[in-house]
Symmetry: C2
Subunit: 239 residues, 2 copies
């Protein structure tokens, strides 16, 4: 159930990728294939360090791209869990990020929202975003895949969020950022973007001093939240 | 066993506080007192969010001091674990940070190292550091308690590490930062400090692109690492 409505004109919708459009559980499944019985532990620690390294390296002013961050985090996680990491496993695990599946509600929501300009704003390197979007056959929906790499820093650095209105040439007041990670949405709100929280799981909202403009339990609720009338959608349908 | 020696002149030793001098397990014990059976889970989640919030708020440019960060992280952790947080519990849990016990090797090591100028560099607010140092009767050892609050940001922001040589008026080449958290030590090394890793636990070194100058398994190894002769220590004993 949509819990609030988005007020004011929205022309552009910008989505986070990992955890918002694409299901990170594909990484855990790959961990389980290479390390049977340890997939959950490895997946959890790898993801935790992947995020932490984005924050730490950004704060240190030592940016390296998301692929390298991901590979370093994998190396740490395997050492911490005493899992020997063969080259073939490293390759397979890393590439699982390029073949994540979109959540089941993505395709239908993007179809219903195609009257808007749509884009992605992600920590992922541009080529990583291109691959996971293509893997899911979603290329035609997005006007632009914006990568944190273009700012040389990671979320929640405001320079990353500022890329979205700048690259899409849109007034931030006419843009809505949709994100499944509440820390990330807080970063966007702090940088002056408008934001809708996609609350897919059980995690409560983070205590970072910001509140979302709206909250949706799934992407299917977005059209309703945006107060969109059916006729308008049909009239503006782009392909 | 000391695994390397520190080379070159060191005149000033700067210690991290939480996890280096003071044992954070005191916080977990307080969690267990207020929420029997849930202390470990609450302690773990609270500590994780406490650190994450320091990184996120610093990157967002939304610094609030460590006491407030700690209180926000507690609020999140209790909501996530569905633990009702009464005011008395909030107060007791927060204040556990002011009454952490020093690790058993701290007092002896500080005595053995008192020929050096000693200081603390911590995320903790100055008054929090003052309280925990006083609780352990360690005031006389430290020339200065340097707080991240003086930089308005948290580790690993280089501005925090730069406070140490600046506030202590020492050349970074003559200062050694001693820290139990490898991400923190990486931040210090990245900012141009010299660093010794105090490896108290099982966690491997983080993959953040830096290596420590030396590694010690406990503070008692520091004098040996510093290549200090007994006579020299006796001759320069201060306080």
């Amino acid at each position: 159930m949509a819990r609030e409505n988005v007020s004011g004109t929205v022309k552009v919708l910008v989505f986070d990728s990992y955890g918002t459009l694409f299901d990170m559980r594909g990484v855990t499944a790959a961990c389980e294939r290479f390390f049977p019985g340890q997939g959950a532990d490895l997946g959890r620690l790898w993801r935790a360090r992947q995020l932490e390294y984005t924050w730490l390296l950004s704060l240190m002013g030592r940016y390296v791209d998301f692929w390298q961050v991901t590979e370093r985090a994998l190396g740490f996680a395997c050492r911490a869990l005493r899992l020997p990491l063969a080259d073939s496993a490293r390759k397979g695990l890393m590439e699982s990020h390029l073949r994540l599946e979109a959540f089941p509600d993505v395709k239908g929501a993007l179809d219903a929202l195609s009257g808007y300009r749509l884009a992605i704003l992600s920590n992922g390197a541009s080529w990583m975003l291109g691959e996971v979007v293509a893997h899911n056959g979603l290329e035609r929906y997005f006007a632009r895949l914006v990568s944190a790499d273009e700012a040389g820093s990671f979320k929640p650095d405001p320079r990353v969020y500022n890329l979205a209105p700048s690259r899409l040439s849109v007034d931030p007041a006419e843009m809505l950022y949709v994100c499944g990670n509440s820390w990330d949405l807080c970063g966007a709100l702090s940088a002056g973007l408008r934001g809708c929280w996609l609350s897919r799981g059980e995690d409560p909202w983070e205590e970072l001093g910001f509140r979302p403009e709206a909250t949706a339990g799934g992407l299917a609720e977005l059209p309703e939240l945006l107060g969109r009338r059916k006729g308008e959608a049909d009239g503006h349908h782009a392909a």
